[in-house]
Symmetry: C2
Subunit: 191 residues, 2 copies
């Protein structure tokens, strides 16, 4: 039991990591812990749009662990990720899950790797949901993190379009139209 407690207190640190998007109406930036809750809820809510073969409880399990690597690595803005980002995050996940005994240790690590590799239907759906969430907040926020970080419409479409389309085509069809509208309103950074 002490191992579980050590693990759960270690991951509390995720609440102190800072992302680039602000929750609606709040001055502070979002943290990956509340973001992980939000995308787990988005995945559940999007169940009717998932392929029938997708096991939603595995999607949610993946989304809950997917940002643990940011405890050591920090949040890397999606549009600034480098080859080293994922390696640092994976080392952090391995360190943290090693606080737990098996089967939890292996199970959490396997979920993180599965999402990172993005090859199963569950990983594709989870990736789509994770990519869509900051877009939805920006669309409700007049493009706050796009404007603050100089991200263009073309960058967003090129980087998030393929993974969202691959995991949840109906979600991408919706977002593509909304992004065009946001572009017409000038909600992107000038590049």
């Amino acid at each position: 039991m002490q191992q579980v407690v050590d693990f759960i207190l270690e991951i509390d640190k995720l609440k102190g990591v800072t992302r680039k998007v602000r929750p609606l109406g709040l001055d502070r930036y979002e943290n990956p812990a509340e973001h992980s809750w939000h995308i787990a809820m988005l995945a559940s809510s999007l169940a009717p749009y998932a392929d029938p073969g997708v096991d939603l409880s595995r999607v949610i399990a993946m989304l809950l662990v997917h940002d643990l690597g940011e405890i050591d690595a920090g949040d890397t803005f999606f549009f600034a990720e480098s080859a080293g980002t994922k390696a640092k995050e994976r080392a952090c996940v391995e360190r943290i899950v090693s606080l737990l005994p098996d089967p939890q240790r292996s199970s959490f690590l396997a979920l993180w790797i599965e999402l990172d590799e993005g090859e199963t239907p569950e990983a594709r759906f989870a990736n789509a949901v994770d990519r869509a969430m900051p877009v939805l907040l920006n669309l409700a926020n007049d493009g706050q993190s796009w404007r603050e970080n100089g991200v263009s419409h073309e960058q967003v479409v090129r980087r998030v379009g393929p993974p969202i389309h691959a995991g949840c085509p109906a979600l991408w069809a919706y977002l593509e139209a909304r992004l065009d509208d946001a572009n017409a309103r000038g909600w992107f950074g000038a590049r």
Copy 2:
């Protein structure tokens, strides 16, 4: 799809609600969104201590929706809950899930009610996890929210002991000893 988006932006408000416990090492108070993520992870980590019949994915689904009622009702300190608290929270949950079409609307509401009623093995396990989390943070925090709010050792044991013991006896055995130790250290409010 617009209904899902309206719902997911509405529940973003949970990030702005304030609880009584602080994340470890942070000055601010915790919010129910990050708390919900944290207890979903605690439930997963405690899988070996759950009764074999407990469906963990239903436990996690319950924990993810269990604080939605605080969007309108605010967070009520556990030791100050009144008869009206749950009614206000339920009205809020009904308002928010009505943004969604079925089956998601009914499914989220049913999960919230099941946890509130606390009669199924999943609800009992989920309740134990939810009650244990602030205790674990306080045990790592020199009793921060107990001292700030004048909560006694006897109040904690009387209010959280039965639900934690009912849902996860091994967790209560661990916490009971830790709470005795915390009492000896003077980490409770004087009552």
